[in-house]
Each structure stands twice: as structure tokens, then as C-alpha cells.
Amino acid sequence: MGFYTTPSFFALSALVVLVSAVLGLLELPLMAWGLFASIAMLVLMFWGNLAAALSLALFLSLSIGSTLWLLGRPRSLWRTTAAVLVSIAPLVVYKLTVSLSGSGLLGFAGISYVTFKVVQVQLEAYDGLISKKDFKLWDYLYFLLFFPSFDSGPIDRSRRFGEDLGRRIPRDEYAGMLARGILLFMVGMVYKLVIAALAYRLYLPSAWGDGPFLQELGKQLACAYSYGLYLFFDFAGYSLMAMGLAFCLGVRLPRNFRAPFLARDLTDFWNRWHITLSTWLRDFVFMRLVRLLMKRRLVRGRLRTAQLALLADMLLMGLWHGVTVDYVAYGLYHGVLMALTEGHQKSAFYRRHRNDPAYRLMSWFVTLQLVFFGFALFSGQMSLLVKGALHV
């Protein structure tokens, strides 16, 4: 059963919402039902795929085992490093074997997202924000397996998730969440099943043809724009449905998109696109890397430090999508653009003109084109064109 794609998923989700609504409106706890529903949904998802189910079981054993071991001495740097390495090992093995042989080892649908959740808990244990006393195994398991966001996010944070579980929701408030959840789910369905599906029909990747230059360019641009629109409506639609289901289960899953095509620059774009991924990388990669570089004085100057950290952050984002030329190029491309944006925004020219309407309009337009060019890298359209030009 595919999540958010198969009729059986939608039918079962309706049942989950119905039972949740009864429990929530009676002010009864929702967690036990949510955990049961999540496990049942995952059993159906992995039914007939023993390798994936065993990989998930191995992943859970490694992450629970290493987290408990870390919580024994949470401020230890070497324990934290070892625990994180153990937790990300299945994802690294999976991504590398997929790119080398096509069929991945140790993988399962959702591994990329659940790995982020495990690492967040471990790094916050190191920071002293999560202690053995706060750690509840069932809450942790529910956090990892929470079915609305298991497959493709949004990437929630354990302490925020735990706060939702820990409180009794008054009836009026739950009724509001339920109504909002159902509405979000329906809007998400229209995004994904109607608009994204229409945009996908216009997405016709092809090699550069023999026609006149402008005609061929127009074909490639139409292809890139329709892919970008498809990607947004598909992913934002999915994210809205996930948020909607979560709300019905009493969990305020964070939003993942905020009108990304209105971004005024690349930094603003990453505050609006796949927000839970970019903020995760900001908090757990960028900020920590900058702190390390600054404390050890490894790089001269604040701008160079920021640029290096942005490049590393975005390269990791690309690699996380997959170890392929297209994804690495996508990560590097955004890393370089973010580094250039950081430099540009420190210039006297930017400070003088940043509020001029003409500058803002131009900046928005250029950002939009750069974003869609990035999608053409992400989709493989650019590598198709490069291969065509090189006759390989």
C-alpha cells in the first residue's frame, strides 16, 4: 500500500480520522490510537516486502539501542559521535548501494526522513536538552513511526512532538484542529491529485532537437517550468495532507512550504521551500559547523566562514537526496548560490538598494529563474541536455 497514492490508503485514513474524531471530541487521549494506527499502516505499507520490513526493524534496533546508550552519558562527545554514526549507517549504506548497483541495501521507504529524527534526538541529548529522565520509549517510538509524516516528512522535532502528546486537548480546541486538519487534507488532495497531475502531463523531457534555436529553448523552458510546478504542488500537497492527518490525531505537525515562488532571494527561498528540511540542516549542520569553525578559528573572516558552511550544508542536502550526479549538482548549485547571496547581501550596493521597488522586483524575478534552473538540475533535465550535447 503506497502512502498518499493508493485508494486503500485514503480509505484507511478516513477510518483513522473517524476514530480520532470520536476520541478527540470525547477528550480522550489520542496517543495509543495514533501509535496503533501508525504500526498498522506501516505493516500494510511493508506487506510483501520482507527486506524493507527487516531493514526497518534493524534501523529501529540500532537507533533505539544507540540512543539509550548515549543517554547513559549524554554529554560525551565520543558517545554522541559513535551513536550518530551508528544511526546514519543504514542510510549511508542504502544511498551508496542504490547509486552503485541500482538496488539499495538496508533501505525502506521513509529511511531518509526517520534518520533525521533519530539524529536530532541524539544531538540534543549531547546539548543537554534531552535527558534519560525525559526519554519515554513509547513516545520516541511513536515519534519515529508517526505514519502521516513517515514516508516523506515534514520532519518534526521530538521535544515539540512530545509537548503535543503530553497535554489534554480541550474539546473546542480539538474540534478546531479537526476541522483545520480535514480542510488541509482536502486542499492537499487538490494540490497533489489535480494540479500536480495536470502539471506532470506538461512535463515532457526531451533532448535538444533539430528545430530552430528559440523553438527548442521554448520547449526546454516549458519542460523546466512544468516540472517545477509539478514538484511544488506534488510535495506541498503531500505535506498538507500529512499535516491534516496529524492535526486530526492531535499533533501540530509543522508546515513545510510558505509560498516559495514569492521568495525575494535564495535565502528567503530556503525559508519557504521544504522548510522542515532546511531548518533542520540550519540548526544541526550549518550552525554547528559555523560554531566549530569560529571557536577553532579554522577559517579567516565571518563571510568566508558563512560561505563555507553554506556550501557544506547544501552539498549535504544534495547528497541526502541521493548520491547521483544530478542531486550532487543540485546541492552544489544551491550552495554556491547561497554563498554568493551571503556575499552580495554584505555589499554596500545591497544595503543601499534592498528596499527599492525596482530592486525587489528584479531580485524576485532572478531568484525565480535560478530556482527553476535548479529544478532542471534536480529532475535530470540538464544532465539529459549535457549528455545530448556530448553525444554520450
Partner: protein
């Protein structure tokens, strides 16, 4: 009396630090304004601020310890620092 004095001193040192990392002068008139929405702080300046607070006050605040809305004004940052001193 001395608590008020200390609080004012922390506020003034935090203000100096925020002005230094944001590269903006005259933030004294924005003590309770959101530094992120005004464009005075971004992720880079925020982490510089955390490193600066550690060096200046010996106070360690992890990057995800506080939600942004608890660290978005000079006044709130000073309160968080004072609470940890």
C-alpha cells in the same frame, strides 16, 4: 538595587554584542523589536551571537535550546543570559 544594576549591565553588554554581530548601530531604540524580521539577525549572526555570549558571559545556549520567538529581541536575549548567570 544591585539586581537592577546587574540586569542593566547585562542588557547593555548584550546590546553591544548584538550590534557587533549584526553590523548595525543604534539598536538601543529597538530593544523589544524582532531582530529577525527587521533583518538585523540571520542564522549566521544568531550563531555568532551564541558563540559571543559564551565568550563574554560564560553562558552556553545550544542552537536549538530556545525557540526563535524566545531569542528574537535584545531584551529577551538579555533575560535568557541573566537567567543562566
Amino acid at each position: 538595587m544591585s539586581d537592577t544594576h546587574d540586569a542593566n549591565e547585562v542588557l547593555s553588554r548584550v546590546l553591544d554584542l548584538v550590534e557587533e554581530v549584526s553590523g548595525e548601530d543604534g539598536l538601543g531604540s529597538h530593544l523589544d523589536d524582532d531582530l529577525f524580521s527587521l533583518g538585523f539577525l540571520d542564522s549566521m549572526a544568531a550563531i555568532e551571537l551564541l558563540v559571543g555570549l559564551e565568550e563574554e558571559f560564560g553562558v552556553s545556549i545550544a542552537p536549538t535550546e530556545l525557540p526563535r520567538e524566545d531569542m528574537n529581541t535584545v531584551g529577551k536575549i538579555a533575560t535568557q543570559v541573566a537567567a543562566r548567570m
